[in-house]
């Protein structure tokens, strides 16, 4: 039994060997510390971000009290008499972002696919990838200037032609377009945000395991069938996330909207006519605004946050639905 006794509990020193309790050790301290740190930072990030939201809301309070929900359906902005409403700006913000996405989603996803799925050699795709990310860094005031001095003169004849031939469509209607319009804003926004979609969608595609693609191709699927039926569904969350980031940028972009929208304070269904966006309103009025006007601008900011939130919630619901079908 001696041998059995030593054998009991296996290797010679049973006490050390079965020591699996949580106890203080540097690596455990680091581990626990690390998890707590990330928790704390996540919490702190939450606090900061909510702080920004609350602070804006606080600044908006006087206007919220004074104008209430009527602010959302009023189409006037009169600093002289202190009457404010942002209906045209809500329309403008939503329409410019939407149209920008209509440009940017196919362009962005199409380009991301082109750059990752072997349509071109790496020495072609790598520099393109870089150039595309650079666009994000162009100061928006420069893009605004570019829009005024280069893009508007270039597209104005096209706008006019479209307006003349397709003017019966409300979105292209109205008097002969002059240039500054929601559509121009949407075009420049589309250029600004497609790099976001391209970059993130691209890294999503690159991270998908190759075995997935091989699986589909081995069944006789074409390259495009593989992309559409396997790669895109598998990377959907990344793609949607990139679209949401891009949308955020479009909704929040200031100078381009201020410089190119025409800043018309009235609702005009036509995208070729001047309009305005919430950000353009804030940017162009903040510096010279009176007290209540500043508050009304902050109220507009709050409206924009709520809009962003709603759009995100809708996106989330869409993803959930889609993924349920997939699983």
């Amino acid at each position: 039994m001696t041998s059995a006794a030593t054998g009991y509990g296996s290797p010679p020193n049973p006490d050390i060997d079965v020591d699996i309790e949580k106890k203080a050790s540097p690596s455990r301290a680091v581990d626990v510390g690390f998890v707590r740190l990330t928790l704390a930072l996540a919490g702190f990030a939450g606090i900061i971000l909510i702080w920004v939201i609350l602070q804006t809301t606080e600044a908006a309070l006087p206007a919220i009290q004074q104008f209430g929900l009527g602010f959302l359906v009023t189409a006037r902005w009169n600093p002289v008499e202190n009457i404010y409403g942002v209906l045209p700006q809500i329309y403008g913000s939503l329409m410019t972002s939407l149209v920008a996405l209509i440009f940017a989603i196919p362009l962005g996803i199409g380009t991301a696919i082109f750059l990752t799925e072997g349509f071109a050699p790496k020495w072609v795709t790598a520099p393109i990838g870089f150039a595309i990310e650079l666009i994000v860094a162009i100061p928006s005031v420069v893009l605004g200037l570019w829009g005024i001095f280069v893009l508007i003169p270039a597209v104005r004849p096209i706008f006019r032609a479209i307006n003349q031939t397709l003017g019966w469509i409300p979105f292209f209607g109205g008097p002969a377009p002059r240039g500054p319009s929601l559509l121009i804003v949407a075009m420049v926004l589309g250029i600004m945000i497609s790099p976001i979609i391209i970059s993130i969608t691209r890294s999503t595609f690159e991270s998908l395991p190759r075995s997935l693609k091989e699986g589909a191709l081995a069944l006789g699927a074409t390259r495009w069938e593989t992309i559409l039926t396997v790669m895109i569904p598998a990377g959907l969350s990344g793609i949607v996330s990139s679209i949401m980031l891009a949308l955020g940028r479009a909704l929040g972009e200031t100078m381009v909207a201020a410089m190119l929208s025409g800043n018309a304070n009235r609702i005009n269904i036509s995208l070729m006519q001047p309009g305005s966006t919430i950000t353009a309103l804030i940017a162009s009025q903040f510096g010279e605004a009176g007290r209540l006007q500043v508050s009304a601008l902050m109220y507009a900011g709050v409206v924009l946050m709520v809009l962003t939130l709603l759009v995100n919630i809708v996106a989330e619901i869409i993803i959930r639905k889609f993924q349920n079908l997939e699983q």
């Binding site: 997935l212 693609k213 699986g215 081995a218 006789g220 390259r223 039926t229």
Partner: protein, 265 residues
């Protein structure tokens, strides 16, 4: 099957001096073999000798590995598989493949199997194809109540059978199988082997296996690959290719004899 004499067969694939490189490394060299139609050919040999590499050449899935390069001649029914006018998609549609690591799509079990028929636009009753394929792959009983669940939440062996079912659903001419049974229990393995014998009536099958018993049980032809040191580089090589009973009972090369006699599997 074993009685079917060789001179009744025609060849589906012929390779001549096939070399495969990964980047600048030669992985397999000088492979010359003919794969007979409607028979089962087994590839055996030590790990890393290039069995998977060669197998992937037959349906051009090597095209997808960056840096992989194929030299030499490889014909499929007399047509050069690597000719310019050949479309790898058409190739892969006829030559199905089951991979060494199970790779179900992140979709439901049903959609995994229905995937092929759907993209190929096959005019079939999908429910029926899914059921038949899963039955043949010996998976139906286990998943019939959870066809909507994600294919990736199955056990390792179940995933592999799902991939087999997926490959069967498109009814290819040739089926390449890279160790299809390595993750399977004996019961499923037996069913898959029975299935292979059944399919052999209509299909040409190439299977990579480490299991000597399996190779000798199911295959008609066996190719034995080995590794040779070229400089400091390990290069795979076809040592011997013959009817299975020859390889297992009276191989010509000593290396083959050594390998198959250490009957482990």
């Amino acid at each position: 099957m074993q009685t079917q004499s060789l001179n009744q067969t025609s060849y589906v694939f012929r390779t001549e001096n096939l070399n495969v490189y990964y980047g600048s490394n030669l992985a397999v060299k000088n492979v010359t073999l003919n794969i007979p139609a409607r028979q089962i050919t087994a590839f055996i040999g030590p790990s890393g000798c290039g069995k998977s590499t060669i197998l992937r050449c037959f349906n051009r899935t090597n095209d997808l590995i960056p840096g992989a390069r194929v030299e030499g001649k490889l014909t499929y029914h007399g047509k050069d598989l690597y000719a310019k006018e050949v479309d790898p998609v058409a190739v892969r549609r006829r030559i199905g493949m089951v991979f060494q690591k199970p790779n179900p799509f992140p979709k439901s079990i049903y959609d995994n199997v229905a995937y092929g028929p759907r993209v190929l636009g096959m005019k079939v009753d999908l429910d029926e194809v899914v059921e038949t394929s899963l039955r043949r792959a010996a998976l139906w009983d286990e998943v019939k109540d959870k066809l909507k669940e994600n294919g990736q939440s199955l056990s390792g062996g179940q995933q592999q059978r799902l991939c087999i079912a997926r490959a069967l659903a498109v009814k290819p001419d040739v089926i390449l199988m890279d160790e299809p049974c390595s993750a399977l229990d004996p019961i499923s393995t037996r069913r898959i082997e029975e299935l292979m014998k059944e399919l052999e009536e209509e299909y040409t099958i190439i299977i990579v296996t480490h299991n000597m018993q399996q190779a000798s049980r199911v295959s008609d032809m066996t190719a034995f690959f080995s590794v040779e040191l070229v400089g400091s580089n390990r290069v795979g090589e076809l040592m011997e290719f013959d009817r299975t009973e020859v390889i297992f009972n009276s191989p010509t090369k000593q290396a083959t004899r050594d390998y198959v006699e250490g009957r482990f599997g």
